[in-house]
């Protein structure tokens, strides 16, 4: 468990270092994820080592957003006179983005024949 955590935290640390060197805003943890992905592709031992720890952290991914969510409540009043406009824009655009993303994915999958026999699995 300690070894797995060491690997995960080290990947994040590498990500944070690389994030400072890149010319565009990409967060350290996302680069850390790519680093770990490369490691998993290279080593079966690494895969076996981190699987239980990674699954443990991911089992309650929702929980990790609670502190930030509580922080947001305090700022709702600060939205001021534009609150309604910002909320409508957020809700409608999120629905449109989900619909457009799913629809584009399916359309291009059909056009290119990348439908995957696993479409309904």
């Amino acid at each position: 468990m300690i070894h797995a955590l060491l690997v995960i935290l080290s990947c994040q640390l590498v990500g944070e270092v690389l994030a400072r060197l890149l010319p565009f805003p990409l967060p350290g943890p996302v680069i850390g994820m790519m680093t770990l992905l490369a490691g998993l592709a290279l080593s079966k031992r690494l895969l076996a080592l981190i699987r239980p720890a990674a699954q443990g952290v991911l089992a309650h991914l929702s929980l990790l957003f609670v502190p930030a969510g509580v922080g947001v409540i305090g700022h709702l009043a600060g939205l001021g006179g534009h609150a309604i406009g910002l909320l409508v824009a957020t809700v409608v655009s999120t629905a449109l983005a989900i619909a457009a993303g799913a629809w584009t994915f399916l359309l291009v999958a059909r056009l290119t024949g990348q439908q995957g026999a696993d479409g309904d699995d």
Binding site: C11, V30, V66, P67, H82, T90, A99, L106, V108
Partner: protein
């Protein structure tokens, strides 16, 4: 215990991290139990329930957010390691991902443009301009990326953080009924659309629904971190 003892015990407890860490886990556990008791209905979102409970407690006890965060930071910190850990479901689904390269590339571009473009168009219709408008452009990206983009285009980082979390919860709540109504059953398309539009909170929801949806959602979130850095500032220039 005398009243003064109770008061001093409360001030001791409420200043340390133990109470707030415990309450964060308790509120989430309650939210998760309600989600299960509802028959896993998407609108009983465990993040939303936990946030409402904790916000009410902070308000009733007049506790500042900074004091609460002393305890909650231990949970908040795990967001980084959890993001790194998403490499595991991505790796497990690599063969599926390889077979979906073109749909993935097209969907991330369209989703990113539609998310920023429609949000800005609606906001402009409501008379929103300047820094507030700029804060809205990157709201579908994961929080640290969105805040970085907001700073670079003259937005307000705090407002962007609020809009990002609100976007995530909205996506997590509406995705299942919306995609069902559209008749989309492909788990790759469903997961990918949620992760692209609603980042980590949408991805957490996708993992609750199906492991393939979760993996594609994680991929979309990671890709949108890159794509939104270019798309959001570009789309914003069309609106000002």
């Amino acid at each position: 215990m005398a009243m003064t003892d109770l008061v001093s015990f409360w001030s001791y407890l409420s200043q340390g991290p133990l109470l707030w860490l415990t309450l964060t886990l308790a509120a989430y556990t309650l939210g998760d139990a309600l989600f299960r008791a509802s028959g896993r209905r998407p609108y009983v979102n465990s993040v939303m329930v936990a946030v409402a409970i904790l916000a009410a407690i902070l308000w009733l006890t007049a506790t500042p957010y900074a004091t609460y965060f002393e305890g909650a930071q231990f949970v908040h910190f795990l967001l980084g390691p959890a993001t790194v850990s998403l490499a595991l479901p991505l790796f497990d689904n690599l063969p599926r991902l390889r077979r979906s390269l073109l749909p993935v590339a097209a969907a991330i571009l369209v989703s990113s443009v539609v998310a920023s473009g429609s949000a800005l168009a609606i906001a402009v219709a409501f008379g929103i301009t300047g820094p507030e408008l700029a804060s809205l452009a990157p709201k579908s990206a994961t929080a640290p990326v969105a805040i970085g983009i907001a700073e670079s285009v003259g937005g307000l980082p705090t407002l962007t953080a609020v809009l990002v979390i609100f976007t995530g919860i909205t996506g997590a709540v509406i995705a299942t009924p919306l995609l069902n109504a559209m008749g989309i059953r492909d788990w790759r398309a469903r997961g990918f659309a949620v992760g692209a539009a609603a980042h980590g909170i949408g991805t957490a929801r996708a993992f609750q629904v199906h492991p393939v949806a979760g993996a594609f959602s994680a991929l979309a979130m990671a890709l949108n971190a890159i794509v939104a850095s270019f798309v959001a500032p570009l789309v914003l220039t069309l609106f000002r």
